[in-house]
Amino acid sequence: MRLRLAAGEGFSPPTTEFFWQPLVGDGAFAFTRPMLLMVLSVAVIAPVMVFVAKRMQVVPSKGQFLTEGTYNFVRNSVGKDMIGAKEFRPFIPLLFTQFLLILVNNLFEIIPLLQFPTFSRIGFPVALTLVVFAVYHVVGMRRHGVGGYFKRMVPPGVPGWIVPLIFFLELITYFVTRPVTLALRLMANMFAGTLLLVVFALGGEYMLLEGSNLFVRVASLGSFALFVIMTFFEILVGFLQAYVFVLLTAFYIADSLAEEH
């Protein structure tokens, strides 16, 4: 697609190739920019969390208050409310780790110089989803036994002839729909948001530098303004997606633990 606003070769919009940024090497095991960001995020989160935890006080300081607010949100609003007050405790570290990792990496999308959402590369959401997938199946099978786990997928009181159909649909839900959508939702949101930001940035730059007349050059301001607005919108999306991911994780775990589906 070429836009004819200038005399030159025209504007080439960013494609999915933008997200493939190998730094060292190439191919399946290349060290990429999102890998660096992922390592950076762990290197930031872990020391900060340990530092805050070491200096925990009953009466919180400002920094502790912020961290603790996040922790209490994940612990109570997500874990306790979804899984239930009796059984949510073993899952707190899982939910909290997920939330922190996703939130920080999503915010990398709009931090200058970093400016790349790690989770827009499908590999990372899939990694988190594999963990969730394993956790909710293992927890469910441990609670109900392997046979019981599959048995309870079909709700009681269903007419006999429809049971296979429902069982098949539930099987797809448990083993395909849930993990696939969980990973894709996160990836697609970050991917689309970043693409939008890149389009506005590149488009603005192109219009400013190579516009054929003054009007086009001035109009680039609109593009940059939208870039700024979308940046703030992406902060919101970053928080929301982290919340949705842990909420769904908690929901899947709660569903596997529940007596009846």
Partner: protein, 198 residues
């Protein structure tokens, strides 16, 4: 920071299968798993226990504080009740004292009145007694006087000396007893015939 982005985009890219947005690159998958594992270990071992501990401590502290506040409130209420009881007691005592004073005053008044009336009665009695005594005296005096006069008169009329004491006394006694038994109105009438008779 459009420039950082554009620089990355404009860099010449080798055509690669990993540009596909939905094909997980194994390297990234592995790095993601390892990163998650490390962070999970740190959070689960070092962070969450501390947070939970503080959480429990704070809950305990808040509950303790509430307990303390409740205790203080109960104490304040008890003090208030005591104070009110004391106040009521003081009021009752004041009322009682006032009542006592009033009744005492009334008693004093009654006593005074009684005393005054007793005094009055006593004075009246004394006056009565005096009057009686005086009257008695007067009667006695009168009696002797009358007797003497009568005797004088009689001796003068009779011409006979009635100086004989014994007789004289007898006459007087008889006369007076007649006088006394008779009606005061008849005294004169009786006296007159007696005088005439004698």
């Amino acid at each position: 920071m459009p420039n950082a982005l554009t620089a990355a985009v404009r860099a010449p890219e080798a055509e690669s299968v990993w540009t596909s947005p939905i094909l997980p690159q194994p390297g990234e998958l592995i790095v993601g798993l390892i990163a998650f594992g490390i962070l999970y270990w740190v959070i689960a071992k070092l962070v969450v226990p501390r947070f939970e501990e503080t959480y429990a401590q704070r809950t305990a502290a808040i509950e303790g504080g509430m307990e303390q506040a409740e205790k203080a409130q109960a104490e304040a209420e008890a003090a208030l009740r005591e104070y009110q009881a004391q106040l009521a007691e003081a009021r009752a005592e004041a009322g009682r004292i006032r009542e006592e004073a009033r009744s005492e005053g009334a008693a004093i008044l009654a006593e005074m009145r009684e005393k005054a009336s007793a005094d009055a009665a006593r004075i009246t009695e004394a006056a009565h007694k005096q009057i009686t005594a005086e009257r008695q005296q007067a009667v006695i005096q009168l009696r002797s006087e009358v007797g003497r006069l009568a005797t004088d008169l009689a001796s003068r009329i009779v011409g006979e000396s009635l100086q004989d004491d014994a007789r004289q006394q007898r006459v007087i006694e008889r006369f007076l007893s007649e006088l006394e038994t008779a009606d005061p109105n008849q005294v004169r009438t009786v006296a007159t015939p007696a005088t005439e008779g004698s």
